[in-house]
């Protein structure tokens, strides 16, 4: 009995620890500006949506959301396309130097992003791609590839080898076998990987900061980072913006918790 209670207590503690800060941010976002600088009250006495309105006024926040969606979506599609093809080949086709290639992918994850930023910045500027979403998508995809390939290779390996043999005997070229047999069967893995890549691309800050210059291509993390005005820090609006950005991610996590976990684990348990 006591153990049960202790367990539940611990569980509540975990929930408070994980979600508490968000709750606080949510409450903050609903407090009228006057109340922000006073504590207590903990709860807003006269909840208001002013801050939410404020988020969209004075800056094209909707545009930022769209940009983020475009970057995250584009990265996910590109990473899945390129990554699944590579992962399939590494899992099922003869590839000379397979270990070396996998090792190379792994070593990319060790690069400090800051090291590649300046050369990339110079390159992007030279190509005239500064302040475009395209450059960001390509870069985000590249750095998402190691994770995508590692996770997807695991999923492709689980498809029995005899199925590939059967496909070959039935007359499939490697690409046909990939498209008609392996890809459909690896769908859960693709989905899990896609979610992981989407989240990573959505949250990416450094490259977005470096490659975007104007509101035209700015993404949400950059906008949030650059929020403070010169004099007064609009805490209410920051809170509201945070909530706006958090909610879709929370929904995503709630819905796909199992897939996310399976994706993470598949990649890590080598």
């Amino acid at each position: 009995m006591i153990r049960r209670a202790a367990l539940w207590g611990a569980m509540l503690l975990v929930l408070a620890w994980s979600l508490g800060p968000f709750l606080w941010q949510g409450l903050t976002s609903l407090k009228p500006t006057g109340e922000l600088s006073r504590l207590p009250p903990i709860l807003p006495t006269a909840p208001t949506l002013d801050h939410y309105r404020g988020v969209f006024e004075g800056r094209p926040f909707a545009r930022y959301l769209l940009n983020s969606a475009a970057v995250a979506g584009g990265t996910t599609l590109l990473a899945l396309a390129v990554g699944s093809l590579a992962a399939f080949a590494l899992a099922r086709l003869p590839v000379p130097g397979r270990r070396l290639i996998l090792g190379l992918f792994l070593s990319i994850t060790m690069f400090p992003p800051i090291a590649t930023v300046s050369p990339l910045y110079l390159g992007v500027r030279a190509l005239g791609l500064r302040d475009t979403l395209f450059a960001l998508i390509v870069v985000d995809t590249t750095f998402a590839l190691p994770l995508a390939v590692w996770v997807l290779t695991g999923f492709f390996r689980e498809i029995p080898e005899d199925l590939h043999r059967a496909a070959r005997v039935d007359g499939c070229t490697p690409f046909q076998a990939f498209r008609r047999v392996h890809l459909p069967l690896a769908a859960p893995g693709l989905f899990a990987t896609g979610i992981l890549v989407f989240i990573a691309a959505w949250n990416e800050l450094l490259f977005a900061l470096t490659f975007t210059a104007t509101d035209r291509s700015r993404t949400v993390p950059v906008a949030l980072a650059l929020f403070p005005g010169l004099h007064e820090v609009p805490w209410g609006e920051i809170a509201a913006a945070s909530v706006i950005v958090t909610i879709p991610l929370v929904v995503l996590v709630l819905l796909f918790q199992r897939r996310i976990v399976s994706g993470l684990l598949s990649g890590a348990v080598k």
Binding site: P160, L163, R165, A166, V169, D170, V181
Partner: protein, 354 residues
């Protein structure tokens, strides 16, 4: 109707040789089995013939044409896998029709051929189901159907019955034999079960450690095994092997001397005598040369019994009919049936007489 010729095929994985200079000819329309215990290379050989793996050395010819560089599709072979390898995300109909789709067979013809094959194998009522909804026997038939629907030049089977229970295995075995008689296509069949190989094939090839030890009809392989491995692998209970010494016309076995009737008189030296259990006769008539032995164990099987004997320190197994009363511990005389015996070199294990 294709003759398959394997010439000097060697297959290496790093330092390991899975196949060693294999030469084998399978006649057009023949049913030939590749038998051996696991790891002997039989599946590897099948894969090389299919085009799923490339030989490190040697060639494979279909009707004299070198197909070594061709893909499985280009060789026009069909494979039935031990695991069936049915596409889980496709219906039975789509599984059967898949190879035809890949060959761009027009839709009407595809539908017709799939239906015909499904009817032939009695799975036409399962066409809309998914593989996971089928029983093991049904899956096996779909796997068969996927091969048949293609009308290939050669059928390759990789232990297709291993995953079935005993009764289904017997039924399917009979069906496979009938299928071969009907289709008259070249069948190459891999199995570790020598009974299967003996009952199904017109000829069998016994493999061990990547080498073909013997190729012949079931009768040949059974009656005149090429070495001790083949001798003990084929036939159940296995052939009895006793060390003996042959000198002139006399045979010395376990301290007892016998007239070596039926054995080559000119041979002189140590041998291994191979005797099939059914060639041993218990309590033979007075004229037959016989030896004393003790019964150690009797295994009654119904239509026959296996009698384990101790003969001068050697363990023998004899096969006797149901009407021979024997008890453990009994001492009796055994006739060795030397007329049908095989002689092997005790060092190399190879057969000595022709």
């Amino acid at each position: 109707m294709t003759e398959v010729r394997v010439e000097g095929v060697t297959r290496r994985f790093g330092n390991v040789e899975a196949l060693r200079g294999v030469d084998l000819t399978i006649a057009s329309g023949e049913f030939l089995s590749l038998v051996g215990s696991s790891g002997c290379g039989k599946s590897t050989l099948l894969h090389v013939i299919a085009g799923l793996e490339r030989a490190s050395e040697g060639t494979v010819r279909f009707d004299g044409v070198d197909v070594s560089a061709l893909s499985p599709r280009e060789r026009d072979v069909a494979v039935v896998f031990q695991t069936y390898a049915l596409y889980p995300h496709m219906s039975v109909f789509d599984n059967l029709g898949f190879p035809l789709r890949m060959s761009r067979v027009p839709r009407e013809e595809l539908r017709r051929r799939v239906r015909e094959t499904a009817e032939l194998l009695r799975i036409d009522d399962l066409l809309s189901r998914r593989p996971r909804e089928l029983s093991g026997g049904q899956r096996q038939r779909v796997a068969l159907g996927r091969a048949i629907v293609r009308r290939p030049r050669v059928f390759l089977f990789d232990e297709p019955l291993s995953n079935l229970d005993a009764r289904l295995r017997l039924e399917t075995r009979a069906e496979l034999k009938r299928l071969h008689e009907q289709l008259r296509t070249t069948f190459i069949y891999v199995t570790h079960d020598q009974t299967e190989a003996m009952t199904l094939s017109q000829r069998l090839a016994v493999l061990r450690a990547g080498e073909v030890l013997q190729v012949g009809t079931p009768e040949e392989v059974y009656r005149r095994p090429a070495d001790t491995f083949v001798a003990t692998f084929v036939g159940s209970p296995p052939m009895n092997l006793i060390p003996a010494r042959l000198d002139g016309g006399r045979l010395a076995v376990g301290g007892v001397e016998l007239p070596a009737g039926g054995l080559p008189p000119s041979f002189r030296g140590d041998v291994l005598i191979g005797l099939r259990p059914e060639d041993l006769a218990l309590r033979p008539g007075p004229g037959e040369p016989a030896m004393p032995a003790t019964v150690t164990l009797v295994e009654p099987l119904g239509p026959e019994s296996y009698v384990h004997l101790d003969f001068a320190g050697h363990a023998l197994v004899a096969r006797v009919g149901p009407d021979v009363p024997v008890r453990a511990g009994e001492r009796l005389r055994v006739s060795l049936g030397l007329g049908a015996a095989s002689l092997f070199d005790p060092e190399t294990g190879r057969r000595l007489q022709t």
